[in-house]
Structure formats: structure tokens, C-alpha cells
């Protein structure tokens, strides 16, 4: 059992997310290999790792989009189970894809998802979310007419509709220009009370956004680091995935 799981068990309320011995295999290929960690409520945790490390697979399992081959995932004290969809009310998900219909307007897209999530007073909630993501003036436009950044913001709005306690963001910065990143950051800044788990290759932004980093490589948890110091994290990260520079390697040897 990891120290985080132990720490979580001593707390009075369960952690926001608890991943216990989770493995995901596709035939002979193991994408995620016996991962265990817990995410405290209100924290922002980054999943870092090279391409193919298993980050997205892990996030998809935490979202209920894929089933672990072994192990359990608990959200808000309730295990994600194949036939129990109630847990999904507490989770918001943003992936590489927007999950939006290009043929519906931004407002219609949000309304459809609000209805599916059983949101109270859906018309008002959709208007409020459009305002939150800065798209209230584009509600009648179709996402097909949006830039990549605006589509990402609308996708974020979709994930926020049911006011989830846990947000899972897969590569939220990918493909965004500086302005779109700043817009996205300003929306994320309002998430202080939510638990956020995000995957990113953008170490600088990830370090600035997250309280804690889980470094995953070849499906295994290689490091669990507090993000106090961006410079030391970069070195720790490279060491964890085995691509440290020569001076770093020498430093490690001399220590």
C-alpha cells in the first residue's frame, strides 16, 4: 500500500479518488500496471509521463470509460462499478476530443448534456456555464464554426454543467495558442474547491497548476512528488523516466 493510501485511510472522509492496484491489459500488452494512489479532496494532481506511458488509459478508467482488468477505482468513497452510474454525477471529463455535436449549437449541445445529467433548471445552468467559459455571445453558433480554443472552452463548459466535485482533464493545453491557454487558465483558476486530475506534457504549466505530480512510465508509477520547486521537479521527472542529462547522471552518481 502506498503512503498516500495509508494517509487517506486515516482521514475522516474518504479521498476524492482512490486507485488501488489497477491494471489494464489489452491482450499481452499491459497499458497500466498495478497502480495505486489516492487523491485528496480539493487538490490538483498532475499525471506526467512520456507518450504511451498509460496516462490517458488511467484517466479513462477514472472516468468510467474503460474498465480495469484488475484493481478498483473509488470516487468519493464509491467504487466505479459497471452497473452503477450514479458515481458519474460527481465526475466531469475533458479529453482530447470535445464530445460535442457539430450539427447542434453550443447552447443545444450543453442543454443535451445537462438533460442527460439530470441538471436542475437546465436552461439557466447552460446560460451560466456559457458565461463561465466566456461563450455567452456564441451560444447560438455551432462548434464547427469555433476555433480549437473555443471548442476546448465549450468542452470544459460541458464538463462543468452538473457541477462535478472531480474534474479529469486529458491534455487540456494541447493545440492551444497563448491566448487560449490564458483563457483556459482563468477558467481553471476558479476551481479551487474541486479535485482536479490532469495529464499534460507541458511540464511548466503542469507544475504551476498542480500540487502534486505522479510520474507514470510504461504503465507503472515511477515517482510521487510534491510540486514545491519547479526546477527540482524537472530533474526528478527526467530521472524517473530515465532521460536525465549527463550532469544530472553524474550528480546522482556522486550523491
Amino acid at each position: 500500500m502506498t503512503p498516500d493510501v495509508e494517509r487517506a485511510e486515516t482521514a475522516s472522509e474518504p479521498p476524492a479518488i482512490e486507485v488501488e492496484h489497477v491494471t489494464k491489459s489489452y491482450g499481452h500488452f499491459t497499458a497500466v500496471d498495478d497502480l495505486s494512489f489516492a487523491v485528496e479532496r480539493g487538490s490538483t494532481v498532475g499525471l506526467f509521463g512520456p507518450n504511451g506511458a498509460g496516462k490517458t488509459t488511467l484517466l479513462r478508467m477514472m472516468a468510467g470509460l474503460a474498465r480495469p482488468t484488475r484493481g478498483t477505482i473509488t470516487v468519493d468513497g464509491v467504487e466505479l462499478a459497471p452497473d452503477d452510474y450514479t458515481t458519474y454525477r460527481t465526475i466531469g471529463v475533458v479529453t482530447h476530443e470535445t464530445m460535442l455535436y457539430d450539427e447542434l449549437t453550443a447552447r443545444e449541445n450543453l442543454r443535451f448534456h445537462a438533460d442527460l445529467h439530470g441538471v436542475d433548471d437546465p436552461a439557466d445552468r447552460c446560460a451560466s456555464v456559457l458565461d463561465t467559459v466566456g461563450l455567452s455571445h456564441r451560444g447560438s453558433d455551432r462548434p464547427a464554426a469555433f476555433s480549437h480554443g473555443l471548442r476546448k472552452r465549450l468542452s470544459l463548459g460541458r464538463a462543468l454543467l452538473h457541477d462535478p466535485d472531480v474534474l479529469l482533464l486529458d491534455e487540456p493545453y494541447t493545440g492551444l495558442d497563448q491566448r487560449s491557454v490564458a483563457d483556459l487558465e482563468s477558467v481553471l483558476d476558479g476551481f479551487d474547491e474541486r479535485t482536479v486530475v490532469l495529464t499534460t506534457h507541458d511540464l511548466e504549466r503542469g507544475v504551476a497548476r498542480c500540487d502534486r505530480a505522479l510520474v507514470v512510465d510504461r504503465g507503472r508509477l515511477e515517482a510521487d512528488l510534491a510540486l514545491d520547486d519547479a526546477a527540482s521537479f524537472a530533474a526528478e521527472y527526467r530521472r524517473a523516466i530515465g532521460v536525465e542529462s549527463e550532469p544530472e547522471r553524474r550528480g546522482e552518481t556522486t550523491r
Binding site: 452510474y85 455535436y101 450539427e103 439530470g118
Partner: protein, 224 residues
Amino acid sequence: MNAFLRAVYRVFRKDLRIERRTKQVTTTVAVFALLVVLVFAFSFVQTLQRSALLGRGALWVAFVFAGTFGVTKTVELEDRNGALDGLLIAPVDRSAIYLGKVLSATAFIFAVSLVTLGATTVFLGYGPSIPTAVSVAAVLLVAAIGFAAIGVVVSVLTFRSGLDELALPVLLVPLVVPLLLAGVDLTAALESGSPLGGWLRLLGLYTGVVLLAGVATFEYVVEA
């Protein structure tokens, strides 16, 4: 209306709204079905005196082609932008999502089948009486439900597993053969006034079985 039926209705209503706006499925598939009927008319111009036989054949050939395209287009809508994932992360039973998609695909396939039925009358001189045409339409409706029930599962499996789109008809057509056999023979029996017995039972039972199998397996198919 309980939560399950509400979810079925919402998925269905969303598909209808998109179709009303784009007419992507019905227009494309109806034109394709009409072309199939026309090809029949041109190919068998010398034997048009056997119009009932030709009309029946064209109707069901067009049904299979139109159904394959119709169900693919309906599921493709969920493949774009990862929209299916958006449905799967909603707190609703996944079989409600499946049934919503089956309902949409059935509506599109049935609408195109009615257009095809009209086209076979115009271009092939296939002219069943009004009561027979109504009965044939009822057979087409049940067959459309069965086709959609199989087609949604196979299309989702094809899209989710990244199989080539040519794999879809290869997987789908053998599974709809019982529907096709029952449909063709029921149409002939309705025209001649013969007993419907066995073929009617086959159509009803097979449709029921594939629908239940779809409800039971959709959860696993979407996680493929």
C-alpha cells in the same frame, strides 16, 4: 416517464434534431435506395412483366443496402469528436443509450424503406393493394428494428476497434440474413394470401432476440 425512458427519448430526440437540420442520413440513403431500384429497373427491363417478383427483390435489396448505410451514418455521428464518450460518462444506463440509437436508426431505415416501397411501385410497377402495402410496411418496420438492433452493435464495435469500414457489411450482412429471409417470404405470402406462420414467428423472435442481445452486450462493446 422514468429516468431510463427519458434517456432513451433524449438520445432519440437529439438524433432527430440533427437529422432534421442536416438531412444527412435520410437524403443520402433515400437517394441510394432509389438508385438501387433504378438499377433493378434498367437491368431487368426485359422481364418487367414479373413486376411483383422484381419489386419484392428490389425492395429487400434496397432495404439491406439502405439499412447498412443508415445505421453506419447514425453511429458515425457519435464517433465524431468522441461524442459517444460524452454519452458514456453521463449517469444513465448504457442500454438506454443503445435503445435511443436503435430507435433513431429504426426511424431512418423505416422512412427510407417507405420511400423505396413507393419507388418500386413507380419504377417497377410493383403494385400491392393498400391493405397488403400496409402489412408489408409493418413487416419492414419490424425488420428495421431488428436490423438497427444488430447494426448499432456492429457499427459501434467497428468504429471503437478501428476496423476498416469495409468490415462493417462483412460482419453485419450475415447477421441480418434471417431478417431478410423472413421479410422476403412474408412479403410474398402477403401478396399471395398464403399463411404467414413460420416466417412471422422467425421475424418476431429474431428481432426480439437480437434486441435483447444488444441490450446485454452494448456495455462491453463500447469498452472494446
